[in-house]
Symmetry: none
Subunit: 343 residues, 2 copies
């Protein structure tokens, strides 16, 4: 990270300056392109769609991109139909990336589109290596990027004098809060998270139906896949690390796809005494995908870093060359090593 | 319900009067007895303990009663050690019951203790038949009784000029919010619920460890059992009925006990389009236990009734003579029959 920017973003005041710069850039732009990260979740989609609603409300011409489109469980998000997985255009005045961690994670075909714009804004609560853009609104204390986008939308509302914080915006951002906090269950939840949830619900974003759509609307194959994964559960002798896997065979047997593995790792972490829960996914012709979740002081970002991945302290991921068995052995061993080291 | 009281409680203003009356009664009392309901949950325990902390802070002599004591998952609540399951004393100046629904639900041995006090306060978000007491602070719009107790504690703080809303109080009330809303997932969550959560977290009540203690403390065997059960998942052709089972062999293989099946049926019901989810448990030398969960208008109480069981519309159960396969066939067939009939 560029140290000047890093310092600017370490304080509330520094962040406020970046928000001001973003407001100026948005006011000056006509054609704006927004993008989230590959394998999108409710926070990245909620953020780009909330911004799309606000910017459209300001009369901007908005293009919304997601390399992997919109998974079924998020297809009800207000504005989901606007999302495209690419664009031939290279005439954008401004590009905004939400929740990506680094610019590669917008996807190989979308990265050049974002880089083609004269100004690029990075909005994120992931603040490890790989921040980017000429304007960076970063806040690792935010439970979800939705919290940061909310501040930007409020600032835009103030600058324009128009009502931009609509019910659609609220539903998109509530979805970001709910998915990134496991419905207010994770350690990243702050009083600010709850206060924002209160404001969003006052705007009409009722959490229960969103929770139902995101967490209680699994497919038949997805639930069977959860069963397969948890049946493969293993744990270290001291009970601090637990892991499970989903194999290519499992995906085939139950007719499920990779997106349906979301949330499985939380079950692995929910075992009494477990500090790190890991899910390994064997995807055909690709690297093994590893999702790590921590609690009780463990830092899974550091573990993911060792394998070229990243994320944050409580949730991180990486992709490692197969075979699955070797990946499991290596990642579990590194996890045990780091937990022992940090005692 | 006494209609005068009912009317008084229908408005914010009416409730404020009842809170004032409760403050006066508490200020005037020296010996106060508090009680929750039988088979206690996090809301009833959180409320009586939060009040116990506040009243002790006011110099009152406090007795805290729970007919069924304190379940293991709540034994870490600040002040849990104060709770007794009875008292020989009958010299209390004031009795306060939280979250009970009706006075019988404090338990047969505790009811006379509460009735022996010259003044009885009923604090509850259950406002059906059976409200009681000379002072009634009732609010069916509160997600948890904790929301109502918070208002009373704030009023006591104002009246006494002492700091009563401590971290202990906040942790007790946060536990009430979390348990009664399924960690902010249910339809009862209002902006006020979130706003209170923000205030409680500012006082030091971090939700994640509480969620961990209440919801995320499954055993290794319990999670593996969930895996086994979901791997057995089946569904009718129209996708409206889904079911899974746990066999004697499963219990043995993963070293789990019947209590660890709790919650499995909710996963079965969480499948998109499913109206009735069923879990069958094969318990050694006993009848097959059947748990039914409904949504989208199905009534599982009627289904359970056919097999000599019962419950309510959304959750019911029955026990049926083995073998498992026959029980599955019969209960699924009856479920399909009733769903078709009610169309």
């Amino acid at each position: 990270m560029n140290s000047r920017h890093a310092n600017q973003n370490k304080t509330e005041k520094g962040r406020a300056k970046q928000v001001d710069a973003a407001v100026q850039a948005i006011m000056a732009a006509r054609r704006i392109v927004l993008a989230g990260h590959v394998n999108p979740d409710g926070d990245t989609l909620g953020c780009i769609l909330a911004l799309a609603h606000a910017l459209t409300g300001m009369g901007k011409e908005v293009t919304v991109l997601s390399s992997d489109g919109v998974p079924d469980i998020y297809d009800w998000l207000p504005g989901a139909g606007l999302i495209r997985n690419g664009s031939p255009r290279r005439d954008f005045d401004l590009a905004v990336v939400c929740d990506a961690g680094n610019l590669d994670r917008v996807g190989a075909s979308i990265r050049p589109i974002m880089e083609s714009a004269p100004c690029l804004i990075d909005i994120d609560h992931h603040v490890a290596d790989g921040v980017f853009g000429s304007i960076r609104i970063l806040d690792s204390s935010a439970a979800a990027t939705a919290e940061i986008v909310w501040k930007l939308i409020l600032a835009l509302q103030k600058a324009t004098g128009s009502v931009l914080a609509t019910r659609d915006v609220a539903e998109c951002l509530m979805t970001g809060l709910i998915t990134d906090t496991g419905s207010f269950r994770f350690l990243n939840v702050t009083p600010r998270t709850f206060a924002l949830a209160a404001r969003l619900e006052r705007l009409g974003a009722v959490p229960a139906p969103i929770v139902d759509l995101v967490f209680e609307n699994r497919t038949y194959g997805g639930v069977k896949l959860l069963g397969r994964a948890l049946d493969s559960l293993q744990m270290t002798a001291d009970g601090k690390v637990a892991w499970a896997h989903v194999t290519v065979q499992d995906f085939t047997d139950v007719s499920a796809v990779d997106a349906e593995t979301e949330g499985i790792v939380n079950h692995v972490r929910a075992i009494k005494g477990v500090q790190v829960g890991i899910l390994f996914r064997e995807v055909p012709d690709k690297q093994v995908r590893v999702s790590l979740r921590a609690r009780n002081g463990a830092d899974v970002n550091r573990i993911a870093n060792v394998f070229g991945g990243g994320g944050h302290v409580l949730a991180a991921g990486c992709s490692v060359e197969p075979p699955l068995k070797d990946v499991e052995r290596a990642v579990v061993a590194e996890t045990v090593r780091q937990l022992n080291e940090s005692r």
